[in-house]
């Protein structure tokens, strides 16, 4: 019975893995990965890792896959191309060589435990109770480091994916319009040539704006200089 379940789950996992690589549309690749993860969770259950299997389904096939689906939906399918040139042939060859090498390593190692069915099963092996106990006693430091790592990753993702101001072109032009500009820009004084606008530096107007508004006009304000003639 366990052999049948193993072969079903193993074939499912390998098929899902092939689907991730082979399918052209990234959305279907994500779905194939979800299938692969569920099959792998079945393998974990056969290995008596109940808590890991549950975490696999909930965290991976649940949360992470939803994240993937959202990003694929946001970015779009895009062009589903494989690499050009030599890597297209060399990549699968490299993978095949790696597989052969791993098989040779596994067969040549001659480990006795690999050819056994594993240690005697004790009830409670891999249960949440024992995993939690290990996490809070023996592996407390890795547990805390993992939580800090998650926090750093969350902050990093927000910083990377946030909307940057100034990147949008229309906002940039808007900022230029409202920025500091030379005095007398766009006034009648500039048009009449009374005042030369110096580009590149923001000259302080020698007449206060209020005075210009309520004064006798641009000409008098220009000739008045710094005497504040057109004041209150």
């Amino acid at each position: 019975m366990s052999a049948v379940l193993f072969f079903i789950a193993a074939i499912g996992a390998i098929t899902g893995a092939f689907g991730v690589v082979m399918l052209r549309n990234p959305f279907y690749s994500v779905l194939a990965l979800a299938f692969h993860l569920v099959s792998l969770a079945a393998l974990f259950l056969l290995l008596r890792a109940e808590f890991v299997a549950a975490a696999q389904v909930i965290v991976y096939a649940g949360a992470v896959m939803v994240l993937y689906v959202f990003v694929v939906a946001y970015v779009g399918g895009g062009e589903q191309l494989t690499t050009r040139g030599a890597l297209r042939v060399l990549g699968p060859l490299f993978a095949l060589a790696l597989a052969i090498e791993l098989c040779i390593a596994m067969l040549g190692a001659g480990l006795k435990g690999v050819n056994s069915r594993g240690a005697v099963y004790v009830p409670g092996f891999g249960a949440p109770r024992s995993i939690g106990q290990l996490f809070l006693t023996k592996f407390l430091f890795p547990f805390e480091i993992a939580s800090i790592l998650l926090l750093v990753a969350a902050v990093g993702a927000v910083v990377l994916a946030r909307r940057r101001r100034g990147l949008e072109p229309d906002e940039r032009t808007e900022a230029r319009i409202h920025g500091p500009r030379p005095a007398y820009t766009g006034t009648m004084a500039e048009a009449a040539g009374v005042r030369q606008v110096v580009h590149g530096e923001a000259v302080k107007p020698d007449v206060e704006p209020v005075g210009t508004l309520t004064g006798d006009g641009a000409g008098s304000a220009g000739s008045a200089g710094s005497e504040h003639e057109g004041g209150w």
């Binding site: 193993a10 893995a17 991730v20 993978a95 098989c103 056994s116 594993g118 092996f125 592996f139 750093v152």
Partner: protein, 99 residues
């Protein structure tokens, strides 16, 4: 089933993932292939934990899951940032490491 069978499945999945990283060009699919490789390592860890009757390997597998989740978060953030800058989502085009 013998533990060796699980290790064989793990090796096959790892090699599929490694080949996918080399062949595909879309960063999203490359991230998915990285997930495949991490999951293959997880399967090997859990298989060895079963072999020894020791749960330390399972704890390590859970830590690997946490690291994989972090990697996915940052990687997807990068993909979204690339998309926002209207650059091509293609690792062959994005070969200049400059802002």
């Amino acid at each position: 089933m013998n533990i060796g069978w699980y290790l064989a499945v793990s090796a096959i999945i790892f090699c599929i993932g490694a080949g996918g990283v080399l062949v595909r060009r879309n960063p999203l699919v490359i991230l998915l292939c990285l997930e495949l490789m991490l999951n293959a390592a997880n399967l090997a860890l859990v298989a060895f934990a079963r072999m020894w009757g020791n749960e330390d390997g399972q704890v390590f597998a859970l830590i690997v899951m946490v690291v994989a989740a972090c990697e996915v978060t940052v990687g997807l953030g990068l993909v979204v940032a690339i998309y926002r800058r209207q650059l091509p989502i293609d690792v062959d085009e994005l070969n200049e490491l400059q802002g």
